[in-house]
């Protein structure tokens, strides 16, 4: 058995806080050293470390039973998940520096994606077509500027953020609130497969465990920890997104929020964040500057447009996100021409329809 088993044991079964694990690992030369150290040595160290919360009660509680850790590793082996301990070299520093870093992370995929801090896109699961469009666009723009998107693969905003990033050829990491081998929600199976194969998925939950409701807010601290900025796209006043934003403030990350209509419950949270000092995303073009990302080289050349298409595009831009019906009315074109022109603009990649609403790209 390699040293992974000692890491899993130290993280899950030794009953030590993250801090305790780090201190003891350093003193005894890694997790295996801690395992092999005698009770007396440990006790003497612990008694000297009165700043460790478990110092007083740890003596005699040490169990040197590896069976639990071995079982977990077996499970991980089966789903070919790898394990990353806080004492490992690959453990990202920016994550280790938050007050409550996860001692152990199970992961599948390319660890280099979280080497540098990414940008988190978070928001409600029940997002509006507007929220979905914003999240997808943000994902695309971040990817085009070479940034990595961090999110939680939940329905709604999270998935849209991942998908946008993937569509633009970027790299993205998802932090689960369930075991690494469980696709939750099930409807995201396709995205889940793609993330594990070409990107990165992470979880602090042991493999094989389905999520419990309280795991999800907890994993939000990891999303924040892995990022240097978070963007809240949509969220109610009391929601997981607001929890993530709270963590981000605690961790010293920059918080951005997408403003929305003040009568939309889904935007009340983000608007409140802005009131509390988050930076509003006021237009998509300024996103790279806001996030400190480099703008990609000049974008592909603009497709040629007929004068009619140009006029309609202008109307759509002025009424971005409005129903096609309204655009048709404002454009004063006969319905049939309007429908044909919208299709044409969509084909040229300048407009996207979400249900009945039209958005410029």
């Amino acid at each position: 058995m390699d040293d992974r088993v000692y890491k899993v044991w130290l993280a899950n079964y030794a009953g030590l806080s993250v801090k305790g694990q780090l201190v003891l690992s350093e003193l005894f030369g890694g997790p295996e050293g801690v395992y092999r150290a005698s009770d007396r040595d440990i006790r003497s160290v612990m008694e000297g470390c009165s700043y460790l919360p478990e110092a007083g009660k740890i003596s005699g509680l040490f169990s040197r039973d590896l069976s639990g850790a071995e079982k977990l590793l077996d499970k991980a082996e089966k789903c070919s998940a790898k394990v990353l301990h806080i004492t490992d070299n690959g453990y990202p520093e920016h994550l280790a520096n938050i007050p409550d870093p996860p001692p152990i992370l199970w992961y599948k995929g390319d660890l280099s994606i979280i080497e540098k801090p990414g940008i988190a896109i978070v928001g409600t699961r029940r997002c509006s077509p507007y929220g979905r469009w914003v999240a997808e666009e943000l994902g695309k723009r971040i990817a085009r500027c070479g940034g990595n998107v961090i999110s939680g693969m939940a329905e709604g905003v999270d998935s849209a953020g991942h998908k946008g990033c993937i569509a633009a050829g970027g790299k993205t990491a998802a932090v689960f609130g369930t075991g690494i081998d469980i696709c939750f929600p099930r409807s995201n199976q396709k995205l889940y497969d793609d993330l594990q194969k070409n990107h990165l998925t992470l979880s602090e939950i042991d493999p094989g465990y389905a999520g419990q409701p309280w795991n999800f807010p907890k994993r939000n601290r990891i999303i924040s920890g892995l990022s240097r900025a978070i963007i809240v796209v949509e969220g109610a006043l009391k929601s997981g997104s607001m929890i993530t934003a709270g963590y981000a403030g605690e961790h010293g990350r920059e918080v951005f929020a997408v403003p929305g209509n003040i009568n939309q419950p889904g935007s009340l949270g983000t608007n409140k964040l802005i009131m509390d000092g988050a930076t509003p995303i006021t237009d998509l073009d300024s996103v790279p500057e806001l996030l400190g990302l480099e703008r990609p080289g000049a974008a592909g050349r603009r497709p040629e447009l007929t004068p009619q298409e140009d006029a309609l595009l202008k109307t759509i831009r002025e009424n971005n996100g409005q129903p096609a019906e309204l655009i048709a009315f404002k454009s004063v074109l006969p319905s049939r021409d309007c429908l044909a022109l919208i299709s044409s603009l969509e084909l040229k990649g300048l407009v996207k329809s979400e249900g009945n609403r039209l958005f410029t790209l």
Partner: protein, 513 residues
Amino acid sequence: MYSRVLSASLYGLSGEETWVEVDVESGLPVFNIVGLANQSIKEAKERIHAAVMNCGFDFESHRITVNLTPANKKKDGSHFDLPIAIALLMSTGQLEPHKGEKKGPVTAYLGELTLDGRLSSIEGALPMIIGMQKRGVNRVVIPAGNLPEAQLVKGMEIIAASTLTQVTEHISGMDIIDPLIADGKTSSAESTAADFSDIRGQELVKRAAQVAAAGMHGLLMIGPPGVGKSMIGKRIPGIMTPLSYEEQLDVTQIYSAAGALAEDKPMICERPFRSPHHSMSAASLIGGGSRPMPGEISLAHCGVLFLDELPEFDSHTLDMLRQPMEDGQVSIVRVNGKCVYPARFMLVAAMNPCRCGYFGDSKRRCTCSESDRKRYVGKVSGPLLDRFDIHVSMERIEFEDISSGEAGGRKSADIRQEVIRAAEVQRLRYEGRGISSNSQLTPDLMKEFCSLDDEGQQLLKDAFIKWKLSARSYHRILKVARTIADLDGSSNIQRVHLLEALSYRQPDAYFKG
């Protein structure tokens, strides 16, 4: 003494000759009706007894046998009262046909008797009379209440009576009723249907409705409650081509067989609009019962079958639509035979984008989770969705946004004019091909009539890559583009036609992740 009188019975929509034979012998008094008669015919003896007595005739105690022939076919309906009574009166010698009546053409009798001897109107008179005419019977005695529908059968001699006495006096020559020769003229009732100009805004959907009506394409409207989906659906029959005489006759026959003809409206002159509730059973949708009755799809023949709240319908019920839609008719098989009812209708459906109805709404928050929404939309099976050539999503429009415009949009009559022209183009093009509208195009025929130039091919190719369309949607888009070209009076499908057809594709936002 023996006598017999001609009547008819109805199997599905085909009226068949049925002879009523009565034999009266002396013996113990019995009154038997044989010939696979059902309960309503068996009960006829009580009605006949009372009616005959109340009309001043004798009903002496004899051994009476009534046979309905051909005796191996089941018979149903209360219209045998009159022929049985007439035959009975002849057998007992109380009624003697006058010379003219004896020599004249064979007369068929249809009618239900009340106890006081009046004739009340019957169900299915029209298809039975049409069936008689096909078999060379040109004279029929019917209750006066059925006269309006009977008049639709060109060339039929109709004797309408309101009491049994009138019929007997006519037969005996005491008071001959002049036969009325039906002229087949239909009262082209003024269109009472609601008008498209009542709907403010939603011009894009009105256009989609026009295209759908012109090519008889299935139309699916998706949108939150209150955007006018049902309003639009209800107005579609008013923009379809008017019914031809043959179609009117077909539709009226179905309504007659179903007993659904209103007294003041004997003839269905407008395209029917049927909007069954989503709690309906499979039998009421496609037709059924021990004596199969036409279902909603047949009542919607030549018209619109409107399914509001599509996902709320039982999915098994909806899946039954598929075969009749393919064939344009439905056959209902029962132990004692099979009934075929025509069912060529235009399918129009409306649905909310999610259970609460407010997904994507600007004012109200949708309370459904993503998976709730997928489950709701997923209730409509893929094969059924494929029957809708045209998909449109609708959105609530703020009144202030559109109230500045001119009042109302185009009138139904104007829209209809264009539809008529496009339908005529299709009729001429498909003459002898066994189809009548673009929606019925098969892939083979499409190769012939929906060819695209290079530019069009390239455009479709781009669209397919961009929106990941399926092969089925390829055909749908081509068919719809053909209709749009027909509306435009263009012989070939141009770029704009394809582009517009593409805008009626299935909206990804609702049906895909």
